[in-house]
């Protein structure tokens, strides 16, 4: 039993309290239990019915995603949604006041349950988030959310919540009218009792009737023409954001639009139909799996180190105040970590501080940060040209120029001045962390901590362990990555680690396709059509071709000739067409970006690569490299590859990840195509690696 009923002084109380769990979810059993309770109340004449949760910081976290994941049949999906809808209808139709008392997360089905109550009260608990995040899982709300939310808070606000899937905090919920009142968590029972008295005194009248929207907002919410504008604008912005790869938000708009003037019964029928259609799609399944994957990595623990408590990290030193160093300092300060930023002169430190402030400035522009907060956070970064202030840092993050000699010097020096407990981390993107550890006083405390650029936006951190790295160091670093709000992937020290190794194979292949006679913007467009956030040449221009080629050389030296930079890069580098930083790269970065014909002219004309072939070559070469990464045990499984590629490179989430995508192709087809490409180019780069051969031999896939 996970839902209980109690009655006292003619006030009924339903309490959700799933046994042996920290959260409540609306799985089939719970829904049936709840429905049964409601059925028993239909003919009663209660003063009020209170619905609450016994869990800390959770009201109801949503429907049971596992149950949805397992549905493969549309009719099953529809029946499942309808079962939930019926319970919500029963709740809505009860002849006495119903009050949802929300003191924790109320998401998806949990929010929909609250919507079916006549009243919603909430606490000021800052853990509370309420909303309908279903579109993030590739489907639409299925328990009446699309019907009730627009009718409660108006079309525009409801549309925003449902289409973005972003839940809101108590203050925003109150402002929009989603909840009727906010109370302190202390004395909540008493407050609820008073609330019930209040509504009992004036039945039928909403206690807190907020003024409805006025002027333009009212027109957009209520007038048929205004509504049309809202639909059109929403669809436009969704299409721009999703590039058409994600059907759920559009479907949500469609459902709301179609059902706007319909009865509850008809509207809910449209909703459950849309839910069913979407829930069985591969896109939805991929997004659900990705949800599990991110949840797993959010809680990632280091195996074999369960007993080790991570050391607290409240002060850091960043060495090197370049773009990365400045970005890292910003992130640290934003997360409340005191930061000592060291470089060789004050001009360099000034640049680092400017880079950090730039991030805050943009946040202020978008009203994501207020000036006094930014002043306090910038105050957490102080510059230095010596090692003063290093004695009490908990972690040093080295972000100097990518040169092993210089980095070794830094590690040798810094390990003399910090406390014996400090972690020594390198933000290298490709150099050997092991070689850095060798020169440190205590190699056990050295670890790789690879951020991606721009630091404040990219959610991934690669944590690179060497043979010397202690468990204590690893545990502390993983915990620190999480403190910074990043997703850590633990990688063994090997050339290019995980993400760059796989990604550069793709960029290099794009270079080869270009050399053969492709066009720059066309190849980029192919990649974007596949769902990548940007094409290989756009990406190269962002990072700088010199950086990419430098890493390719490292990879070539460490992993073999398949990473020899494509010949076209040799033609571009001497011309200093490096990308955005030099104004010109594959594109000319003026006010409007145009293809740089100087580069395109280096390509022999006439060759033509089809979209299909280009994508196949660029993606399959990554899959083969990822398999090799697994074969060499650089990471512990396909999960790590997929989370790394999605969070580190923006590999399309709707495809579930690189290796999920590989599984959707099937090992047989994959092998066949790789072999065909290998026999065409005969240089070994497409030769299926042993890991893939093994999978095929055993009739397995990456994930099964």
């Amino acid at each position: 039993m996970s839902v209980f009923y109690k009655e006292e002084a003619n006030i009924g109380t339903v309490t959700f309290d799933a046994p042996d769990s920290k959260v409540n979810v609306l799985n089939a059993d719970t829904l049936i239990g709840f429905g049964t309770i409601l059925d028993g109340l239909k003919n009663k004449n209660l003063k009020a019915l209170v619905i609450q949760s016994a869990k800390k910081d959770i009201f109801i976290a949503g429907a049971d995603i596992k149950e949805i994941e397992n549905i493969t049949d549309e009719a099953d999906a529809k029946a499942k949604a309808q079962a939930g809808q019926r319970v919500m209808d029963t709740l809505e139709d009860l002849p006495f006041p119903t009050v949802a008392v929300i003191d924790g997360a109320a998401l998806g089905g949990g929010c929909e349950l609250a919507l079916a109550c006549r009243w919603r009260v909430m606490t000021f608990n800052d853990k509370i988030r309420i909303g309908l995040p279903e579109v993030n899982l590739g489907f639409v709300p299925g328990f009446g959310g699309t019907y009730r939310l627009p009718r409660l808070i108006g079309l525009q606000q409801a549309m925003k919540m449902i289409v973005s899937g972003v839940p809101v905090n108590p203050q925003a919920a109150f402002k929009s009218g989603l909840v009727d009142r906010l109370y302190p968590a202390v004395g909540l029972q008493e407050s609820v009792r008073e609330f019930i008295e209040e509504i009992a005194a004036e039945p039928g009248k909403r206690v807190l009737m907020r003024k409805g929207p006025k002027g333009l907002a009212a027109f957009l919410d209520n007038h048929p023409l205004g509504r049309m504008v809202v639909y059109k604008k929403t669809i436009e912005s969704v299409q721009k954001a999703t590039k058409g790869f994600y059907p759920a938000p559009l479907k949500a708009v469609d459902v709301i639009r179609k059902s706007q003037y319909l009865s509850r019964e008809q509207a809910l029928d449209i909703e459950s139909g849309a839910f069913a259609q979407l829930a069985v799609t591969p896109i939805s399944k991929n997004l659900v799996r990705l949800f599990y994957l991110t949840e797993k990595y959010k809680k990632l623990s280091v195996s074999g180190a369960e007993g080790i408590k991570p050391a607290a990290m409240s002060k850091a030193a960043v060495i090197g105040a370049g773009v990365m160093g400045g970005g890292i300092a910003q992130l640290l300060s934003n997360r409340g970590v005191w930061t000592r930023l060291k470089d060789i002169n004050h001009e360099a430190i000034a640049k680092g501080l400017a880079a950090a402030y730039d991030v805050y400035k943009h946040a202020m522009k978008r009203r994501k940060a207020r000036p006094h907060e930014v002043a306090a956070k910038m105050a957490m970064i102080t510059g230095t040209v010596d090692y003063s202030g290093f004695a009490d840092v908990d972690i040093v993050i080295e972000a100097v120029v990518e040169n092993l000699d210089i980095k070794q010097k830094v590690f040798a020096q810094v390990s003399q001045v910090v406390s014996p407990k400090a972690v020594l981390a390198s933000n290298t993107s490709s150099l050997s962390v092991t070689e850095m550890a060798r020169v440190a006083k205590d190699p056990a405390r050295v670890i790789g901590f690879h951020f991606f650029n721009p630091v404040h936006r990219m959610p991934l951190i690669e944590i690179i362990t060497t043979e010397f790295t202690s468990q204590q160091t690893l545990v502390a670093t993983v915990a620190f990555a999480r403190k910074l709000g990043k997703t850590p992937v633990v990688v063994k020290d090997a050339p290019g680690f995980l993400v760059n190794r796989i990604l550069l194979g793709y960029i290099n292949e794009a270079g080869r396709i270009l050399s053969e006679g492709g066009t720059i913007d066309e190849i980029d467009r192919f990649a974007v059509n596949f769902g990548l956030p940007m094409g290989p040449f756009t990406l190269s221009d962002e990072v700088g071709l010199d950086v990419g080629v430098k890493v390719l050389h490292v990879l070539e030296a460490g992993l073999g000739p398949r990473f020899k930079p494509a010949s076209i890069f040799d033609g571009i580098l001497p011309k200093k067409l490096l990308g955005k930083k030099s104004g010109k790269g594959f594109y000319i970065h003026g006010k409007k970006r145009t293809v740089n014909n100087e580069v395109q002219a280096l390509v022999k004309a006439g060759g033509k690569v089809t979209e299909h072939e280009a994508i196949e070559r660029m993606i399959y070469i990554m899959i083969n490299e990822a398999a090799l990464v697994l074969q060499e045990k650089v990471v512990d499984g396909p999960d790590a590859v997929d989370i790394g590629m999605i969070m580190g490179t923006g590999f399309p989430p709707f495809r579930g990840g690189l290796l999920r995508y590989a599984d959707s192709i099937g090992i047989d087809t994959l092998m066949e195509r790789l072999e065909a490409l290998e026999s065409r180019f005969q240089d070994g780069r497409f030769k299926p690696c042993d890991y893939i051969l093994e999978l095929k031999k055993n009739g397995r896939q990456f994930y099964t």
Partner: protein
């Protein structure tokens, strides 16, 4: 005996009003100095008993600025903070306040200092305009609002009260600080030439002492542009000449006066932090004191002769220390105005003065070679709330550099006071 130790100190460069630090608030300057001191000393912030900062023109948006500085500098929220104000001696007041608290057994580690952003002292609306504005916001109906509105005249906002000017004018005697210097110049017969020569020396010493002064300065990279680091005080003028000084017109008393902007202190932004600790506790924590506060004194004088304050405070402090003036090896007398410092030197050298006030045995001639050896406020600038702390820091660095035992720092104080501290190693 548990002496009062100064275990560390650092300051920002001093920058003339409206120059490099124009964009930095007093609290920002203060936190830069305070945080850097914490960093350089590897100080465990949990040991700090209280934060005490002096500030004269406290920004309206940073009431109790010491608390704001403490929080921005990473001092625990549970540690209290208090702002002190003794006008130009506020920085000394902060250190002395800590000393008194340590002696009273209230605590043993105090993060003190002074901060001032004279670039950011606001202009004020007149009372009349203020009343119109509140009238508008109080008026209930539109016509009533318009009626109030119609009372506004251009002079209401074109002629604001300038906060800095107000602060530098004595509210009791009505004289501007510069005018009080003119009073002393007349009384002691201090010529324009003597003042200009004193000013020239200040610049020359400050330029020559640039490398030494860097030892007490943390380079500051002012936001929000973060364009370049300010490494040095920008007040000292290389190549300053008597001719250039002579060209300046008397500012406070046109025609008849002798006090010019060239022989007065500069109006300046800057902050300084000092860690004050009980000697025993400092030793337990492994701190190495720069020196100790042996005694201090504050004296009251006529407001219109406020510049004479040091001539009274110095012998009073020496008497408490049980020392003669000739025992002192170095002096820092704040150069609010050349006329005022020269007047103090004359008074201290006069037996009649000593007799009149009962300072016999505690006054004497001060050797110019021992006075303000790396320049003073005429060259370096005088951020009013900061200068007292800066003098202590500069003096202690000087004593350590030359292995001297005893130094005295002193300031004249607007409103008619003098402050002096006897420092020893």
């Amino acid at each position: 005996m548990d002496r009062i130790a100064i275990v560390g100190g650092i300051r920002t460069p001093f920058c003339k009003m409206g120059t490099n630090f124009n964009s930095l608030s007093a609290q920002e300057l203060g936190r830069i100095a305070a945080r850097e001191l914490i960093e350089r000393m590897d100080l465990d912030v949990k040991v700090i008993d209280e934060v005490i900062f002096g500030c004269v023109g406290q920004p309206a948006e940073a009431a109790n600025i010491a608390r704001v500085i403490a929080l921005l500098a990473g001092v625990p929220k549970t540690t209290p903070a208090v702002t002190v104000h003794r006008n130009c001696a506020s920085g000394i007041e902060a250190a002395v306040n800590a000393a008194i608290k340590i002696k009273a057994g209230l605590g043993s580690i105090y993060l003190t200092g002074g901060t001032e952003s004279m670039s950011n002292i606001p202009f004020f609306f007149s009372k009349a305009y203020q009343e119109i504005l509140t009238g508008i916001s109080r008026a209930k109906t539109m016509p009533a609002k318009l009626q109030e509105f119609a009372k506004i005249r251009p002079h209401h906002f074109l002629k604001p009260n300038i906060g800095l000017q107000l602060g530098l004018t004595d509210p009791v005697c009505g004289l501007n600080m510069g005018q009080t210097a003119e009073v002393l110049a007349k009384e002691f017969g201090i010529t324009r030439r003597a003042q200009d020569e004193f000013a020239l020396a200040s610049h020359q010493k400050a330029i020559a002492g640039r490398a030494l002064l860097r030892e007490e300065i943390v380079p500051v990279i002012p936001g929000p542009k973060y364009k370049e680091a300010v490494m040095d005080d920008n007040g000292p003028r290389d190549g300053q000449t008597m001719e250039a000084l002579a060209k300046l017109k008397p500012f406070f008393e046109r025609g008849t006066g002798t006090v010019t902007p060239g022989n007065s202190s500069q109006i300046t932004d800057g902050a300084c932090a000092l860690l004050v600790a009980g000697e025993l506790r400092a030793k337990v924590l492994g701190m190495k004191p720069l020196g100790y506060i042996r005694s201090f004194a504050f004296a009251g004088v006529e407001p219109d002769r406020m510049g004479i304050g040091p001539a009274h405070a110095i012998p009073m402090a020496l008497k408490k220390a049980g020392m003669k003036l000739s025992d002192v090896q170095a002096f820092e007398i704040n150069e609010a105005f050349a006329a005022q410092v020269l007047a103090c030197l004359r008074a201290l050298g006069s037996e009649k003065f000593a007799r009149d006030f009962g300072y016999e045995g505690y006054t004497g001639e001060i050797d110019p070679a021992q006075l303000n050896v790396n320049g003073g406020a005429i060259a370096l600038g005088h951020p009013v709330g900061t200068s007292g702390a800066r003098l202590i820091l500069t003096m202690l660095k000087h004593l350590n550099r030359h292995n001297l035992n005893c130094g005295v720092v002193s300031l004249c104080v607007g409103g008619g006071q003098g402050a002096a501290v006897v420092l020893e190693r």
